[in-house]
């Protein structure tokens, strides 16, 4: 027998490398998410009839834009595998099954971060009124990183649930959006002082705690439940 049982870490590493390689070779998620976010900002400009936004309005516009772009990514997360015969290839391997979804969540997190780099840059150029200084960018980065963990976890769970259904593209936003409301609330509450008219103000600590708690609870829950979504 020329094989041995690979560890969870190497299984995750192999899956993650495969996800990234696939996305580089045949981009599905990233261009769509990035383009969609910029298009959404244009729509906001016209629908709100504003040239520039600040404060809580700016926070809201960015949060909505990122959230809906994320929905696109989540819907597509499992499609490639589903088309190529599901997870059978992975399921036949002598590895811990949760490696699959952990790797998917990590990949989604990375894609969200990359998309947000583009989106925030575009936002600063197109719609954001306050100047994009170090403090504004730093606080935005912290907020979005925390939010992305939650979106990645929920997105992987919902994506895995929805890929089995017949109306996949409808199911994902309909289930994911209510689940992400706490993330939306916290993100908006954190970005509003960041985008304040007169310059970035301090972050309200309790909302960072809310994001952290959300990430922790659902992260642990997802880790425990992933197995049941991959079996059979």
């Amino acid at each position: 027998m020329s094989g041995r049982r690979p560890s969870l870490r190497s299984a995750i590493g192999a899956m993650l490398a495969k996800e990234l390689r696939l996305e580089l070779r045949a981009p599905q998620l990233l261009p769509a998410m990035a383009l969609f976010s910029v298009a959404t900002m244009i729509v906001f400009h016209f629908s709100l009839q504003r040239d520039a936004v600040a404060g809580s309005l700016a926070a809201g516009v960015l949060t909505v834009t990122l959230l809906f772009s994320a929905m696109l990514g989540i819907a597509r997360l499992f499609v490639a595998d589903h088309e190529e015969g599901g997870f059978d290839g992975f399921l036949l391997a002598p590895v811990d099954r949760s490696a699959l979804l952990i790797a998917k969540a990590m990949a989604l997190f990375l894609f969200l971060v990359i998309m947000e780099v583009v989106a925030v840059a575009a936002y600063a150029l197109l719609l954001l009124e306050p100047a994009a200084g170090a403090r504004l960018l730093g606080q935005t980065a912290l907020t979005l990183l925390l939010a992305d963990v939650g979106i990645a976890v929920i997105g992987t769970l919902v994506g895995a649930l929805a890929v089995q259904t017949r109306a996949r593209d409808l199911m994902v936003p309909v289930i994911a959006l209510p689940l992400l409301v706490p993330v939306v609330i916290a993100t908006a509450k954190l970005l509003a002082p960041t985008f304040a008219q007169g310059g970035a103000e301090a972050l309200p600590g309790q909302w960072l705690a809310v994001l952290g708690l959300y990430d922790l609870v659902f992260g642990l829950l997802a880790y425990g439940l992933f197995d049941f979504l991959v079996e059979d």
Partner: protein
Amino acid sequence: MPETAVELEGLTRRYGGREALADVTLSLERGRTLVVFGPNGAGKTTLLRVLATLLRPHAGSARVLGHDLAREGWAVRGRIGFLGHQPLMYRDLSARENLRFHARLHGVSFERVDALLERVGLAARADDPLHSYSRGMVQRAAVARAVLHDPELLLLDEPTANLDPHAAELVEPLIGRSSGRTRVVTSHDPVGGLADADVALGLRAGRVRLLADAAAVTREQIGELYR
């Protein structure tokens, strides 16, 4: 090492409201080949997938390589090679990349990947994406994937369906009778299938209609299954 590679008793697997496999009982010794016949929907693929631990039995017992599938499925993975209707590889990646991915999941060295690519005659095109391959080439790559980790039991769903004679020759020592491995093979070809096997199983509507030594089975008996 157990003498019996596969031991099924009353194996049942449901799908929706009907039974895809019902009360299947058989046993297969190491190193022997079981050929499975039956019309579409008879349960051949389901049987293979249960043996591959991709599906769990709903009733009855299934022991593969000495382990109970319902409780110790994880112990058997890595010792089974599965070749289904789909190649289980990503079309946008090359054969080498796909095989290396599976190698990492099975703890197999990259040298073995290269060696297998040679053996199935894909070394020259190993770095081209799979979507540029012909059906026969994809099938050969799938064969390489199936035997990458040197499995003791092979589960093959119509393995030579897309292969020309030359390609079939190339893969014979890997997945054929001469490989010496225990094999469960589905087939629609009575003559070739029987010649290649030790035991023959005929399924219809999920039930066992025929189970005998391959040498003793006639073409007419196989034909009856499809009536």
